[in-house]
């Protein structure tokens, strides 16, 4: 319940798990990576429009490979979001 969660720490209003911050950090690299992948594809297509079909599989492959890193972060954020001290 929202009310009980908000009441968890009346002093600071801070609650939740540090793993969410970890996920935010983990998303930086893949974010840059996905940006580079698409930028390179747009540039390649603008310079040589006939190569659009040729490079499209590699676009999705590169996109998927870098995106996977962010998703690992997301999954690990849930794995380690428990409140217990032990892993």
């Amino acid at each position: 319940m929202l009310s009980t969660v908000l009441a968890a720490d009346p002093g600071t209003g801070v609650y939740g798990s540090l793993s969410s911050i970890g996920y935010g950090l983990a998303a930086i690299g893949p974010g840059i990576g996905v940006g580079i992948v698409f930028a390179a594809y747009i540039q390649a297509t603008a310079r040589q429009p006939e190569s659009a079909g040729l490079t499209r599989p590699y676009l999705f492959m590169g996109f998927a490979l870098s995106e996977a890193l962010a998703l690992f972060g997301l999954v690990l954020a849930f794995v380690f979001s428990g409140t217990g001290a032990s892993l």
Binding site: T4, F63, L65, A68, L71, V75
Partner: protein
């Protein structure tokens, strides 16, 4: 103004991982919402292809054309493009995979189901294992088991890089490829479902506060839920495409002679 939000009794907030473990149907632990959705998907795919392709015409009917263009898309766009002249051999498997994953993923946004079996790690793991076995088998058949491993992990690089490169390349074909294949599909659908939950349930919670400003934000949140539903449709098909594309590229690298 104090942040004294009124509790909304029926809304499970914040959304948690428990959402992904629905209770068994009829007291059984083996039959859940997910297994039923997989059965529906399999039944629909078999029915569709048997009915439309059983009696093919030279001038295709509309349904036959849909089936053929799905097969043609995977055969020409993925199998031939990525694997090369040996590609059509794998087109039936790749097409089945593509259609099956698309059906599983699209359950994420179909009203009444609203969750995809792929957002449960068990289903992507089995699909990834299938692809794993196939690319190992194809590599071992083409090169022989040990020389397949040798051609896969020994890259043309200076000798002093090899101590780092060899373990990485070995881990690549042993662990990293199947794990990323499974986790990518799982995590995309998992994240998509959570995003939808956050926006829809968040809308309920904000409306339940009784504060007119927060209630307006709640309505905006529902609007976002609609937008994200459309986005999820795109992600569902894209992830099916990516899964099949990567499977094809792994098979290609198993069949490749050398780097």
């Amino acid at each position: 103004m104090s942040l004294q939000l009124a509790p909304v009794a029926d809304v499970p907030w914040p959304p948690s991982v428990d959402e992904f473990f629905p209770p068994g149907v009829g007291g059984s632990v083996w039959i859940t919402k997910f297994t039923i959705m997989v059965w529906i998907a399999v039944a629909l795919i078999i029915l569709f292809f048997v009915l439309t392709q059983r009696n093919p015409k030279i001038v295709p009917t509309k349904a036959q054309w849909i089936g053929e263009s799905m097969y043609g898309f995977v055969r020409n766009g993925i199998a031939k493009e990525v694997i090369g002249h040996e590609g059509p051999r794998f087109a039936p498997y790749l097409t089945t995979l593509f259609v099956f994953i698309s059906f599983l993923n699209i359950f994420a946004i179909i009203p009444g189901f609203q969750i995809s079996p792929s957002s449960h790690i068990a289903f992507p793991i089995i699909l990834a294992l299938l692809s794993y076995v196939i690319y190992w088998y194809q590599g071992a058949k083409k090169h022989g088991f040990w020389s397949y491993i040798k051609t896969s992990i020994v890259l043309p690089a200076p000798w002093w890089v090899q101590p780092i490169l060899l373990p990485i390349e070995l881990a690549q074909i042993l662990i990293i490829r199947p794990v990323t294949l499974a986790v990518r599909l799982f995590a995309n659908l998992f994240a998509g479902h959570l995003i939808l939950l956050v926006f829809t349930l968040g809308g309920f919670v904000l409306l339940g506060t009784g504060n007119i400003g927060l209630a307006a934000v709640g309505v905006v949140s529902w609007g976002m839920a609609l937008v994200m539903t459309l986005f999820e449709a795109g992600v569902a098909l894209l992830q099916a495409y990516v899964f099949v594309l990567l499977t094809a590229s792994y098979v290609q690298s198993s069949l490749a002679d050398e780097h």
